[in-house]
Protein backbone atom coordinates (compact mmCIF):
# COMPACT_ATOMS: atom_id res chain seq x y z
CA UNK A 1 0.00 0.00 0.00
CA UNK A 2 1.18 3.52 -0.83
CA UNK A 3 0.80 5.87 2.12
CA UNK A 4 1.03 9.63 1.69
CA UNK A 5 1.05 11.32 5.08
CA UNK A 6 0.83 15.08 5.68
CA UNK A 7 2.85 15.97 2.61
CA UNK A 8 3.61 19.66 2.02
CA UNK A 9 5.97 21.11 -0.56
CA UNK A 10 6.85 24.28 -2.42
CA UNK A 11 9.24 26.04 -4.74
CA UNK A 12 11.66 28.84 -3.77
CA UNK A 13 10.14 29.11 -0.31
CA UNK A 14 6.57 29.41 -1.59
CA UNK A 15 4.32 26.59 -0.47
CA UNK A 16 2.11 25.06 -3.14
CA UNK A 17 1.09 21.80 -1.48
CA UNK A 18 -0.50 21.60 1.96
CA UNK A 19 -0.85 18.53 4.22
CA UNK A 20 -1.89 15.96 1.63
CA UNK A 21 -2.82 12.62 3.21
CA UNK A 22 -4.20 9.54 1.44
CA UNK A 23 -3.62 5.81 0.92
CA UNK A 24 -3.68 3.77 -2.27
CA UNK A 25 -3.94 -0.01 -2.30
CA UNK A 26 -2.18 -2.18 -4.84
CA UNK A 27 -4.38 -3.14 -7.75
CA UNK A 28 -5.94 0.35 -7.80
CA UNK A 29 -5.71 3.37 -10.07
CA UNK A 30 -6.16 6.93 -8.86
CA UNK A 31 -6.84 10.01 -10.99
CA UNK A 32 -5.87 13.36 -9.54
CA UNK A 33 -8.24 16.06 -10.77
CA UNK A 34 -8.07 19.81 -10.35
CA UNK A 35 -7.57 23.12 -12.17
CA UNK A 36 -4.19 24.38 -13.42
CA UNK A 37 -1.72 25.21 -10.67
CA UNK A 38 -3.55 23.27 -7.94
CA UNK A 39 -0.44 21.18 -7.17
CA UNK A 40 -1.19 17.93 -9.03
CA UNK A 41 2.22 17.63 -10.67
CA UNK A 42 3.97 18.77 -7.49
CA UNK A 43 2.29 15.93 -5.61
CA UNK A 44 3.52 13.43 -8.21
CA UNK A 45 7.03 14.88 -7.94
CA UNK A 46 6.94 14.36 -4.17
CA UNK A 47 5.92 10.71 -4.58
CA UNK A 48 8.75 10.20 -7.10
CA UNK A 49 11.10 12.01 -4.66
CA UNK A 50 12.07 14.54 -7.33
CA UNK A 51 11.63 17.53 -5.02
CA UNK A 52 12.03 18.15 -1.30
CA UNK A 53 8.89 17.87 0.82
CA UNK A 54 7.70 17.71 4.42
CA UNK A 55 5.71 14.71 5.61
CA UNK A 56 6.16 11.06 4.75
CA UNK A 57 5.53 8.90 1.71
CA UNK A 58 5.95 5.15 2.14
CA UNK A 59 5.36 2.00 0.18
CA UNK A 60 4.50 -1.04 2.29
CA UNK A 61 5.88 0.83 5.28
CA UNK A 62 9.20 1.73 3.62
CA UNK A 63 9.93 5.46 3.58
CA UNK A 64 10.51 6.30 -0.11
CA UNK A 65 12.54 9.42 0.61
CA UNK A 66 15.13 7.39 2.51
CA UNK A 67 15.94 4.68 -0.03
CA UNK A 68 18.58 4.87 -2.73
CA UNK A 69 17.67 6.12 -6.21
CA UNK A 70 18.33 2.77 -7.85
CA UNK A 71 16.03 0.96 -5.43
CA UNK A 72 13.39 3.70 -5.67
CA UNK A 73 13.39 3.34 -9.46
CA UNK A 74 12.47 -0.34 -9.06
CA UNK A 75 9.41 0.76 -7.06
CA UNK A 76 8.24 4.01 -8.66
CA UNK A 77 8.43 5.13 -12.30
CA UNK A 78 7.25 8.36 -13.92
CA UNK A 79 5.78 8.85 -17.38
CA UNK A 80 5.62 12.55 -18.04
CA UNK A 81 4.48 14.91 -20.75
CA UNK A 82 7.86 16.49 -21.26
CA UNK A 83 10.66 14.47 -22.72
CA UNK A 84 13.77 16.26 -23.83
CA UNK A 85 15.63 14.42 -26.53
CA UNK A 86 18.49 15.91 -28.47
CA UNK A 87 20.42 12.76 -29.23
CA UNK A 88 19.70 9.90 -31.65
CA UNK A 89 19.01 6.73 -29.63
CA UNK A 90 17.30 3.70 -31.14
CA UNK A 91 13.91 2.57 -29.79
CA UNK A 92 15.57 -0.54 -28.32
CA UNK A 93 18.35 1.43 -26.59
CA UNK A 94 15.86 3.95 -25.19
CA UNK A 95 13.69 1.21 -23.69
CA UNK A 96 16.80 -0.57 -22.37
CA UNK A 97 17.54 2.59 -20.33
CA UNK A 98 14.47 1.62 -18.29
CA UNK A 99 16.53 -1.33 -17.02
CA UNK A 100 19.21 0.99 -15.58
CA UNK A 101 18.22 0.26 -12.00
CA UNK A 102 18.26 -3.52 -12.65
CA UNK A 103 21.66 -3.75 -14.37
CA UNK A 104 24.55 -4.16 -11.95
CA UNK A 105 27.54 -2.03 -12.90
CA UNK A 106 30.80 -3.98 -13.08
CA UNK A 107 34.22 -2.50 -13.79
CA UNK A 108 32.51 -0.56 -16.57
CA UNK A 109 28.80 0.20 -16.96
CA UNK A 110 27.64 -3.45 -16.73
CA UNK A 111 25.90 -5.49 -19.39
CA UNK A 112 22.19 -6.36 -19.59
CA UNK A 113 21.30 -9.96 -18.71
CA UNK A 114 18.89 -12.22 -20.61
CA UNK A 115 16.18 -11.11 -18.18
CA UNK A 116 16.80 -7.44 -19.03
CA UNK A 117 16.70 -8.15 -22.76
CA UNK A 118 13.49 -10.16 -22.39
CA UNK A 119 11.86 -7.37 -20.35
CA UNK A 120 12.79 -4.81 -23.03
CA UNK A 121 11.47 -6.90 -25.92
CA UNK A 122 8.28 -7.65 -23.99
CA UNK A 123 7.68 -3.95 -23.24
CA UNK A 124 8.29 -2.92 -26.85
CA UNK A 125 5.87 -5.59 -28.01
CA UNK A 126 3.29 -4.50 -25.43
CA UNK A 127 3.17 -0.96 -26.85
CA UNK A 128 3.09 -2.29 -30.42
CA UNK A 129 6.45 -0.93 -31.57
CA UNK A 130 8.26 -4.17 -32.42
CA UNK A 131 8.36 -3.14 -36.08
CA UNK A 132 10.24 0.08 -35.19
CA UNK A 133 12.71 -1.44 -32.74
CA UNK A 134 15.84 -0.20 -34.57
CA UNK A 135 14.47 3.22 -35.57
CA UNK A 136 16.05 6.35 -34.10
CA UNK A 137 13.64 8.01 -31.71
CA UNK A 138 14.16 11.47 -33.21
CA UNK A 139 12.50 10.20 -36.41
CA UNK A 140 9.31 9.06 -34.65
CA UNK A 141 5.96 10.85 -34.40
CA UNK A 142 4.80 12.29 -31.06
CA UNK A 143 2.47 9.36 -30.49
CA UNK A 144 5.12 6.75 -31.26
CA UNK A 145 7.60 8.55 -29.05
CA UNK A 146 5.24 8.58 -26.09
CA UNK A 147 4.74 4.83 -26.57
CA UNK A 148 8.53 4.37 -26.52
CA UNK A 149 8.65 6.19 -23.19
CA UNK A 150 5.76 4.08 -21.90
CA UNK A 151 7.71 0.96 -22.92
CA UNK A 152 10.72 2.31 -21.03
CA UNK A 153 8.61 2.81 -17.90
CA UNK A 154 7.19 -0.72 -18.25
CA UNK A 155 10.71 -2.15 -18.70
CA UNK A 156 11.61 -0.46 -15.41
CA UNK A 157 9.12 -2.90 -13.86
CA UNK A 158 8.02 -0.63 -11.00
CA UNK A 159 5.22 -1.18 -8.51
CA UNK A 160 3.77 2.29 -8.97
CA UNK A 161 3.56 4.22 -12.24
CA UNK A 162 2.98 7.95 -11.99
CA UNK A 163 1.44 9.47 -15.10
CA UNK A 164 2.01 13.20 -15.46
CA UNK A 165 -0.31 14.23 -18.29
CA UNK A 166 1.18 11.62 -20.60
CA UNK A 167 -1.58 11.97 -23.19
CA UNK A 168 -0.91 15.65 -23.96
CA UNK A 169 0.67 15.11 -27.37
CA UNK A 170 -1.41 12.11 -28.37
CA UNK A 171 -4.37 11.84 -30.70
CA UNK A 172 -7.59 10.32 -29.39
CA UNK A 173 -6.80 6.78 -30.51
CA UNK A 174 -3.41 6.77 -28.80
CA UNK A 175 -4.83 8.46 -25.67
CA UNK A 176 -7.38 5.70 -25.29
CA UNK A 177 -4.84 2.98 -26.08
CA UNK A 178 -2.40 4.30 -23.50
CA UNK A 179 -4.97 4.57 -20.74
CA UNK A 180 -6.44 1.13 -21.54
CA UNK A 181 -2.99 -0.41 -21.57
CA UNK A 182 -2.13 1.10 -18.18
CA UNK A 183 -5.43 -0.20 -16.74
CA UNK A 184 -4.60 -3.65 -18.03
CA UNK A 185 -1.09 -3.41 -16.53
CA UNK A 186 -2.52 -2.71 -13.07
CA UNK A 187 -5.36 -5.15 -13.42
CA UNK A 188 -3.20 -8.14 -14.28
CA UNK A 189 -3.01 -8.45 -10.52
CA UNK A 190 -0.23 -11.03 -10.35
CA UNK A 191 2.13 -8.40 -8.99
CA UNK A 192 1.63 -5.57 -6.53
CA UNK A 193 0.94 -2.65 -8.85
CA UNK A 194 -0.84 0.71 -8.73
CA UNK A 195 -1.12 3.82 -10.90
CA UNK A 196 -1.62 7.49 -10.11
CA UNK A 197 -2.53 9.70 -13.05
CA UNK A 198 -2.78 13.43 -13.62
CA UNK A 199 -4.79 14.40 -16.70
CA UNK A 200 -6.15 17.68 -18.00
CA UNK A 201 -9.04 15.91 -19.66
CA UNK A 202 -11.60 14.73 -17.09
CA UNK A 203 -12.98 12.19 -19.55
CA UNK A 204 -9.57 10.56 -19.92
CA UNK A 205 -9.06 10.69 -16.13
CA UNK A 206 -12.37 8.89 -15.65
CA UNK A 207 -11.54 6.36 -18.33
CA UNK A 208 -8.52 5.37 -16.22
CA UNK A 209 -10.57 5.14 -13.02
CA UNK A 210 -13.53 6.60 -11.18
CA UNK A 211 -11.37 6.55 -8.05
CA UNK A 212 -10.43 10.23 -7.88
CA UNK A 213 -8.66 12.75 -5.70
CA UNK A 214 -9.80 16.35 -6.18
CA UNK A 215 -7.25 19.06 -5.50
CA UNK A 216 -7.85 22.76 -5.03
CA UNK A 217 -5.18 25.42 -4.31
CA UNK A 218 -2.65 22.83 -3.10
CA UNK A 219 -5.07 21.07 -0.78
CA UNK A 220 -6.85 17.75 -0.99
CA UNK A 221 -10.44 18.75 -1.53
CA UNK A 222 -12.29 15.42 -1.78
CA UNK A 223 -11.39 11.81 -2.44
CA UNK A 224 -13.38 8.72 -3.37
CA UNK A 225 -15.52 7.44 -6.22
CA UNK A 226 -16.25 10.27 -8.65
CA UNK A 227 -20.00 9.58 -8.57
CA UNK A 228 -20.11 9.81 -4.76
CA UNK A 229 -17.80 12.76 -4.23
CA UNK A 230 -18.55 15.22 -7.04
CA UNK A 231 -21.70 17.06 -7.95
CA UNK A 232 -22.66 19.89 -10.25
CA UNK A 233 -21.96 22.67 -7.75
CA UNK A 234 -18.68 21.21 -6.48
CA UNK A 235 -17.24 20.89 -10.00
CA UNK A 236 -18.37 24.40 -10.92
CA UNK A 237 -16.64 25.82 -7.85
CA UNK A 238 -13.50 23.80 -8.49
CA UNK A 239 -13.04 24.66 -12.17
CA UNK A 240 -14.88 28.01 -12.30
CA UNK A 241 -17.02 26.76 -15.16
CA UNK A 242 -20.16 24.68 -15.35
CA UNK A 243 -18.55 21.34 -16.12
CA UNK A 244 -21.72 19.26 -16.07
CA UNK A 245 -23.59 21.54 -18.53
CA UNK A 246 -20.59 21.54 -20.85
CA UNK A 247 -20.29 17.77 -20.78
CA UNK A 248 -24.06 17.35 -21.26
CA UNK A 249 -24.07 19.66 -24.27
CA UNK A 250 -21.18 17.71 -25.72
CA UNK A 251 -22.94 14.44 -25.12
CA UNK A 252 -26.06 15.71 -26.88
CA UNK A 253 -23.98 16.79 -29.85
CA UNK A 254 -22.22 13.45 -30.14
CA UNK A 255 -25.49 11.62 -29.54
CA UNK A 256 -26.94 13.45 -32.53
CA UNK A 257 -23.97 12.31 -34.65
CA UNK A 258 -24.77 8.68 -33.89
CA UNK A 259 -25.96 6.80 -36.97
CA UNK A 260 -25.99 10.06 -38.93
CA UNK A 261 -29.08 11.34 -37.10
CA UNK A 262 -27.92 14.95 -37.51
CA UNK A 263 -28.38 14.57 -41.26
CA UNK A 264 -32.05 13.70 -40.93
Amino acid sequence: MLTVKKVSAGYSGKRVLFDITFNLDFGQCLSIIGPNGCGKTTLLKCIANLIDFDGEISLDGENLAKIKRRKLARKVAVLSQKNEMYFPYSVYDTVMLGRFSHIKPGLFAGEPTKKDIAAVNESIEAVGLSCLIDRQINTLSGGQLQRVFLARVLAQNPQIILLDEPTNHLDLKHQLELVDYIKKWVGEGKEKRAVIGVFHDINIALRLTENVLFMDSGKLSRMGNFRDTADDEFLQNLFGVNVVSYMTENSRFWESMKNGRHLL
Partner: protein
Protein backbone atom coordinates in the same frame (compact mmCIF):
# COMPACT_ATOMS: atom_id res chain seq x y z
CA UNK B 1 27.10 4.99 -43.14
CA UNK B 2 23.91 3.39 -41.88
CA UNK B 3 24.44 0.34 -44.06
CA UNK B 4 27.85 -0.48 -42.58
CA UNK B 5 27.93 -2.66 -39.49
CA UNK B 6 29.05 -0.90 -36.31
CA UNK B 7 32.36 -2.80 -36.01
CA UNK B 8 33.35 -1.79 -39.54
CA UNK B 9 32.60 1.87 -38.82
CA UNK B 10 34.72 1.66 -35.65
CA UNK B 11 37.62 0.10 -37.59
CA UNK B 12 37.34 2.74 -40.32
CA UNK B 13 37.40 5.53 -37.73
CA UNK B 14 40.47 4.10 -35.98
CA UNK B 15 42.17 3.55 -39.34
CA UNK B 16 41.49 7.19 -40.35
CA UNK B 17 42.98 8.40 -37.08
CA UNK B 18 46.13 6.34 -37.71
CA UNK B 19 46.39 7.84 -41.21
CA UNK B 20 46.05 11.31 -39.65
CA UNK B 21 48.89 10.47 -37.25
CA UNK B 22 51.11 9.21 -40.08
CA UNK B 23 50.43 12.40 -42.06
CA UNK B 24 51.05 14.52 -38.95
CA UNK B 25 54.42 12.86 -38.38
CA UNK B 26 55.42 12.64 -42.05
CA UNK B 27 54.61 16.08 -43.45
CA UNK B 28 56.67 19.13 -42.68
CA UNK B 29 59.80 20.96 -43.85
CA UNK B 30 61.36 17.49 -44.31
CA UNK B 31 59.03 14.84 -45.79
CA UNK B 32 59.29 11.47 -44.08
CA UNK B 33 57.71 8.37 -45.61
CA UNK B 34 55.38 6.09 -43.61
CA UNK B 35 57.99 3.33 -44.06
CA UNK B 36 60.66 5.46 -42.39
CA UNK B 37 58.30 6.36 -39.55
CA UNK B 38 57.54 2.67 -38.95
CA UNK B 39 61.24 1.78 -39.12
CA UNK B 40 62.28 4.45 -36.61
CA UNK B 41 59.50 3.54 -34.16
CA UNK B 42 60.33 -0.18 -34.50
CA UNK B 43 63.98 0.70 -33.92
CA UNK B 44 63.15 2.52 -30.68
CA UNK B 45 60.68 -0.03 -29.33
CA UNK B 46 62.06 -3.37 -30.53
CA UNK B 47 65.66 -2.27 -31.20
CA UNK B 48 65.35 -3.37 -34.84
CA UNK B 49 68.14 -2.03 -37.09
CA UNK B 50 67.41 1.15 -39.07
CA UNK B 51 67.42 0.86 -42.89
CA UNK B 52 70.50 2.45 -44.49
CA UNK B 53 68.43 5.14 -46.20
CA UNK B 54 67.13 6.45 -42.88
CA UNK B 55 69.52 8.94 -41.36
CA UNK B 56 69.97 9.72 -37.68
CA UNK B 57 68.64 13.19 -38.39
CA UNK B 58 65.38 11.73 -39.70
CA UNK B 59 65.17 9.50 -36.64
CA UNK B 60 65.78 12.51 -34.38
CA UNK B 61 63.12 14.59 -36.18
CA UNK B 62 60.61 11.80 -35.73
CA UNK B 63 61.37 10.89 -32.12
CA UNK B 64 62.04 14.35 -30.68
CA UNK B 65 59.86 16.68 -32.74
CA UNK B 66 57.15 15.22 -34.95
CA UNK B 67 56.06 12.17 -32.95
CA UNK B 68 55.65 13.92 -29.57
CA UNK B 69 53.88 16.81 -31.29
CA UNK B 70 51.47 14.59 -33.23
CA UNK B 71 50.82 12.32 -30.27
CA UNK B 72 50.28 15.31 -27.97
CA UNK B 73 47.84 16.80 -30.50
CA UNK B 74 46.03 13.46 -30.65
CA UNK B 75 45.75 13.16 -26.87
CA UNK B 76 44.63 16.78 -26.45
CA UNK B 77 42.04 16.37 -29.22
CA UNK B 78 40.86 13.11 -27.65
CA UNK B 79 40.55 14.66 -24.19
CA UNK B 80 38.73 17.78 -25.40
CA UNK B 81 36.29 15.74 -27.51
CA UNK B 82 35.52 13.10 -24.88
CA UNK B 83 35.12 15.91 -22.31
CA UNK B 84 32.75 17.76 -24.65
CA UNK B 85 30.65 14.63 -25.23
CA UNK B 86 30.25 14.19 -21.47
CA UNK B 87 29.34 17.83 -20.86
CA UNK B 88 26.67 17.75 -23.57
CA UNK B 89 25.04 14.65 -22.10
CA UNK B 90 25.31 15.50 -18.44
CA UNK B 91 23.85 18.95 -19.02
CA UNK B 92 21.36 17.59 -21.62
CA UNK B 93 22.48 20.43 -23.87
CA UNK B 94 23.95 19.79 -27.31
CA UNK B 95 25.92 23.05 -27.20
CA UNK B 96 27.58 22.54 -23.81
CA UNK B 97 31.32 22.15 -23.49
CA UNK B 98 34.04 22.49 -20.90
CA UNK B 99 34.23 26.13 -21.87
CA UNK B 100 30.57 26.71 -20.95
CA UNK B 101 31.44 25.96 -17.35
CA UNK B 102 34.48 28.19 -17.23
CA UNK B 103 37.35 25.71 -17.64
CA UNK B 104 38.97 27.90 -20.27
CA UNK B 105 38.44 31.15 -18.36
CA UNK B 106 39.70 29.54 -15.17
CA UNK B 107 42.78 28.20 -16.96
CA UNK B 108 43.36 31.66 -18.51
CA UNK B 109 43.27 33.14 -15.03
CA UNK B 110 45.77 30.56 -13.79
CA UNK B 111 48.11 31.34 -16.67
CA UNK B 112 47.67 35.11 -16.21
CA UNK B 113 48.38 34.89 -12.47
CA UNK B 114 51.50 32.80 -13.17
CA UNK B 115 52.85 35.25 -15.73
CA UNK B 116 51.75 38.35 -13.80
CA UNK B 117 53.44 37.35 -10.56
CA UNK B 118 56.26 35.42 -12.22
CA UNK B 119 55.46 32.19 -10.33
CA UNK B 120 57.93 29.39 -11.20
CA UNK B 121 57.70 26.77 -8.44
CA UNK B 122 57.34 23.84 -10.88
CA UNK B 123 59.74 25.06 -13.54
CA UNK B 124 58.36 24.74 -17.08
CA UNK B 125 55.33 22.87 -15.74
CA UNK B 126 54.21 25.79 -13.57
CA UNK B 127 52.08 27.29 -16.34
CA UNK B 128 50.13 24.12 -17.24
CA UNK B 129 49.78 23.18 -13.57
CA UNK B 130 48.33 26.57 -12.64
CA UNK B 131 46.07 26.52 -15.71
CA UNK B 132 44.76 23.07 -14.79
CA UNK B 133 44.17 23.89 -11.12
CA UNK B 134 42.46 27.22 -11.81
CA UNK B 135 40.31 25.69 -14.58
CA UNK B 136 39.17 22.85 -12.37
CA UNK B 137 38.65 25.13 -9.38
CA UNK B 138 36.40 27.46 -11.43
CA UNK B 139 34.19 24.54 -12.46
CA UNK B 140 34.07 23.17 -8.92
CA UNK B 141 32.86 26.54 -7.62
CA UNK B 142 30.18 26.66 -10.35
CA UNK B 143 28.98 23.10 -9.68
CA UNK B 144 29.02 23.51 -5.89
CA UNK B 145 27.06 26.74 -6.15
CA UNK B 146 24.56 25.06 -8.49
CA UNK B 147 24.05 22.14 -6.13
CA UNK B 148 23.44 24.51 -3.21
CA UNK B 149 20.94 26.38 -5.31
CA UNK B 150 19.16 23.29 -6.63
CA UNK B 151 19.10 19.99 -4.75
CA UNK B 152 19.38 17.89 -7.91
CA UNK B 153 22.07 20.15 -9.41
CA UNK B 154 19.78 21.00 -12.33
CA UNK B 155 21.40 21.52 -15.72
CA UNK B 156 19.96 24.99 -16.20
CA UNK B 157 21.42 26.10 -12.85
CA UNK B 158 24.85 24.63 -13.69
CA UNK B 159 24.98 26.30 -17.10
CA UNK B 160 23.82 29.68 -15.77
CA UNK B 161 26.23 29.75 -12.85
CA UNK B 162 29.01 28.40 -15.09
CA UNK B 163 28.50 31.23 -17.56
CA UNK B 164 28.38 33.84 -14.80
CA UNK B 165 31.61 32.43 -13.33
CA UNK B 166 33.17 32.44 -16.79
CA UNK B 167 32.32 36.09 -17.39
CA UNK B 168 33.53 37.09 -13.94
CA UNK B 169 36.84 35.25 -14.28
CA UNK B 170 37.36 36.68 -17.78
CA UNK B 171 36.89 40.14 -16.33
CA UNK B 172 39.59 39.45 -13.74
CA UNK B 173 41.91 38.21 -16.52
CA UNK B 174 41.28 41.37 -18.56
CA UNK B 175 41.93 43.48 -15.47
CA UNK B 176 45.27 41.78 -14.77
CA UNK B 177 46.24 42.01 -18.44
CA UNK B 178 45.50 45.71 -18.39
CA UNK B 179 47.88 46.15 -15.46
CA UNK B 180 50.78 44.25 -17.02
CA UNK B 181 51.19 44.63 -20.80
CA UNK B 182 54.10 42.15 -21.03
CA UNK B 183 52.14 39.41 -19.28
CA UNK B 184 49.17 40.29 -21.49
CA UNK B 185 51.14 39.46 -24.65
CA UNK B 186 52.12 36.05 -23.28
CA UNK B 187 48.55 35.31 -22.14
CA UNK B 188 47.16 36.14 -25.60
CA UNK B 189 49.85 33.97 -27.21
CA UNK B 190 48.89 31.10 -24.87
CA UNK B 191 45.18 31.60 -25.53
CA UNK B 192 45.70 31.18 -29.28
CA UNK B 193 46.77 27.58 -28.74
CA UNK B 194 49.84 25.83 -30.09
CA UNK B 195 51.57 22.45 -30.01
CA UNK B 196 54.99 23.87 -30.78
CA UNK B 197 56.45 23.24 -27.33
CA UNK B 198 55.36 19.61 -27.07
CA UNK B 199 57.97 17.07 -26.07
CA UNK B 200 58.04 13.52 -24.73
CA UNK B 201 57.75 14.73 -21.12
CA UNK B 202 54.49 16.51 -21.87
CA UNK B 203 53.12 13.41 -23.54
CA UNK B 204 54.05 11.31 -20.51
CA UNK B 205 52.05 13.68 -18.29
CA UNK B 206 48.86 14.13 -20.31
CA UNK B 207 48.59 10.58 -21.66
CA UNK B 208 47.93 8.82 -18.31
CA UNK B 209 45.60 11.61 -17.10
CA UNK B 210 43.53 11.45 -20.28
CA UNK B 211 43.43 7.64 -20.46
CA UNK B 212 42.46 7.12 -16.81
CA UNK B 213 39.71 9.74 -16.93
CA UNK B 214 38.24 8.34 -20.16
CA UNK B 215 38.17 4.83 -18.62
CA UNK B 216 36.48 6.18 -15.48
CA UNK B 217 33.91 8.00 -17.60
CA UNK B 218 33.02 4.79 -19.41
CA UNK B 219 31.77 3.33 -16.13
CA UNK B 220 29.03 5.94 -16.18
CA UNK B 221 28.11 5.55 -19.85
CA UNK B 222 24.60 4.22 -19.12
CA UNK B 223 23.90 6.96 -16.54
CA UNK B 224 24.99 9.52 -19.16
CA UNK B 225 22.60 7.96 -21.68
CA UNK B 226 19.78 8.63 -19.23
CA UNK B 227 20.97 12.13 -18.39
CA UNK B 228 20.63 13.19 -22.05
CA UNK B 229 16.87 12.85 -21.53
CA UNK B 230 16.93 15.48 -18.77
CA UNK B 231 17.23 15.55 -15.00
CA UNK B 232 13.81 14.21 -14.05
CA UNK B 233 14.00 11.30 -16.45
CA UNK B 234 17.42 10.33 -15.15
CA UNK B 235 16.35 10.64 -11.51
CA UNK B 236 13.17 8.63 -11.91
CA UNK B 237 15.04 5.88 -13.77
CA UNK B 238 17.45 5.52 -10.85
CA UNK B 239 20.42 7.85 -11.50
CA UNK B 240 21.65 9.65 -8.40
CA UNK B 241 21.87 12.90 -10.35
CA UNK B 242 23.55 15.06 -7.76
CA UNK B 243 26.48 12.72 -7.17
CA UNK B 244 26.80 11.49 -10.75
CA UNK B 245 26.55 14.94 -12.26
CA UNK B 246 29.11 16.47 -9.92
CA UNK B 247 31.52 13.58 -10.51
CA UNK B 248 31.14 13.59 -14.30
CA UNK B 249 31.42 17.38 -14.57
CA UNK B 250 34.56 17.30 -12.44
CA UNK B 251 36.14 14.46 -14.44
CA UNK B 252 35.34 15.99 -17.81
CA UNK B 253 36.57 19.40 -16.64
CA UNK B 254 39.81 17.78 -15.51
CA UNK B 255 40.06 16.21 -18.97
CA UNK B 256 39.47 19.56 -20.70
CA UNK B 257 41.65 21.36 -18.15
CA UNK B 258 44.62 19.04 -18.67
CA UNK B 259 44.40 19.57 -22.43
CA UNK B 260 43.89 23.33 -22.29
CA UNK B 261 46.61 23.88 -19.68
CA UNK B 262 49.34 22.55 -21.95
CA UNK B 263 48.27 23.93 -25.32
CA UNK B 264 45.94 26.87 -24.70
CA UNK B 265 42.26 27.24 -25.43
CA UNK B 266 41.36 25.33 -28.57
CA UNK B 267 37.69 25.55 -29.39
CA UNK B 268 35.08 23.79 -31.49
CA UNK B 269 36.66 20.35 -31.53
CA UNK B 270 34.69 19.44 -28.39
CA UNK B 271 31.48 20.23 -30.27
CA UNK B 272 32.22 18.81 -33.73
CA UNK B 273 33.76 15.46 -32.82
CA UNK B 274 30.98 14.24 -30.47
CA UNK B 275 28.21 15.42 -32.83
CA UNK B 276 29.80 13.80 -35.88
CA UNK B 277 30.33 10.60 -33.89
CA UNK B 278 26.70 10.53 -32.70
CA UNK B 279 25.58 10.95 -36.28
CA UNK B 280 27.69 8.01 -37.47
CA UNK B 281 27.53 5.64 -34.50
CA UNK B 282 24.30 6.60 -32.67
CA UNK B 283 24.08 8.22 -29.24
CA UNK B 284 25.12 5.44 -26.82
CA UNK B 285 27.97 6.71 -24.67
CA UNK B 286 29.65 3.34 -24.54
CA UNK B 287 30.59 4.08 -28.17
CA UNK B 288 30.34 7.90 -28.25
CA UNK B 289 33.05 8.51 -25.64
CA UNK B 290 35.84 6.32 -27.05
CA UNK B 291 34.97 7.19 -30.65
CA UNK B 292 34.82 10.95 -29.89
CA UNK B 293 38.31 10.55 -28.46
CA UNK B 294 39.56 8.78 -31.60
CA UNK B 295 37.83 11.18 -34.04
CA UNK B 296 38.75 14.30 -32.04
CA UNK B 297 42.35 13.12 -31.76
CA UNK B 298 42.61 12.57 -35.50
CA UNK B 299 40.96 15.91 -36.27
CA UNK B 300 43.35 17.74 -33.96
CA UNK B 301 46.42 16.12 -35.56
CA UNK B 302 45.20 17.26 -39.00
CA UNK B 303 44.38 20.77 -37.70
CA UNK B 304 47.87 21.07 -36.23
CA UNK B 305 49.34 19.81 -39.52
CA UNK B 306 47.47 22.55 -41.38
CA UNK B 307 48.41 25.17 -38.78
CA UNK B 308 52.13 24.54 -39.23
CA UNK B 309 52.25 23.89 -43.00
CA UNK B 310 49.74 26.19 -44.76
CA UNK B 311 52.00 29.26 -44.70
CA UNK B 312 55.20 27.64 -43.40
CA UNK B 313 57.49 28.63 -41.79
CA UNK B 314 54.89 30.85 -40.09
CA UNK B 315 52.77 28.82 -37.70
CA UNK B 316 49.06 29.63 -37.40
CA UNK B 317 47.31 29.37 -34.02
CA UNK B 318 45.77 25.89 -34.04
CA UNK B 319 42.67 27.18 -32.21
CA UNK B 320 41.95 29.41 -35.21
CA UNK B 321 42.33 26.48 -37.60
CA UNK B 322 39.94 24.21 -35.64
CA UNK B 323 37.39 27.04 -35.48
CA UNK B 324 37.69 27.99 -39.17
CA UNK B 325 37.27 24.38 -40.32
CA UNK B 326 35.04 23.42 -37.43
CA UNK B 327 32.38 26.12 -37.56
CA UNK B 328 31.09 25.26 -41.06
CA UNK B 329 31.30 21.50 -40.40
CA UNK B 330 29.42 21.93 -37.14
CA UNK B 331 26.77 24.11 -38.77
CA UNK B 332 26.35 21.50 -41.51
CA UNK B 333 26.00 18.57 -39.08
CA UNK B 334 23.66 20.48 -36.81
CA UNK B 335 21.42 22.04 -39.43
CA UNK B 336 21.17 18.79 -41.37
CA UNK B 337 20.13 17.05 -38.19
CA UNK B 338 17.36 19.50 -37.39
CA UNK B 339 15.79 19.23 -40.86
Amino acid sequence: MKTFPQWLKILLCIFSAIIALILGIGIGSVYITPGEIAAVIANKIFALPLPETTTDITAAIIMNVRLPRAVAAFIVGAGLSAGGAVMQSVLANPLASGYTLGVASGASLGVTVTLFFGVTFLGIFTLPFMGFIFGLFTVLIAVTAASRFDRNTGSAAVILIGMVMSLFVNAVVTLLMGLNKDAAKSVIFWQMGSFSGMDNKTVLIIFPITLVIILLLLRYSRAMDLMTFGDEQALSAGVNSRFTKTLLLTLSSALTGAAVAFVGTIGFIDLIAPHAVRKIFGAKHKIVIPMSAVAGGGFMVLSDLLARTVIAPVELPVGAVTAIIGAPIFAYIFLKKSK
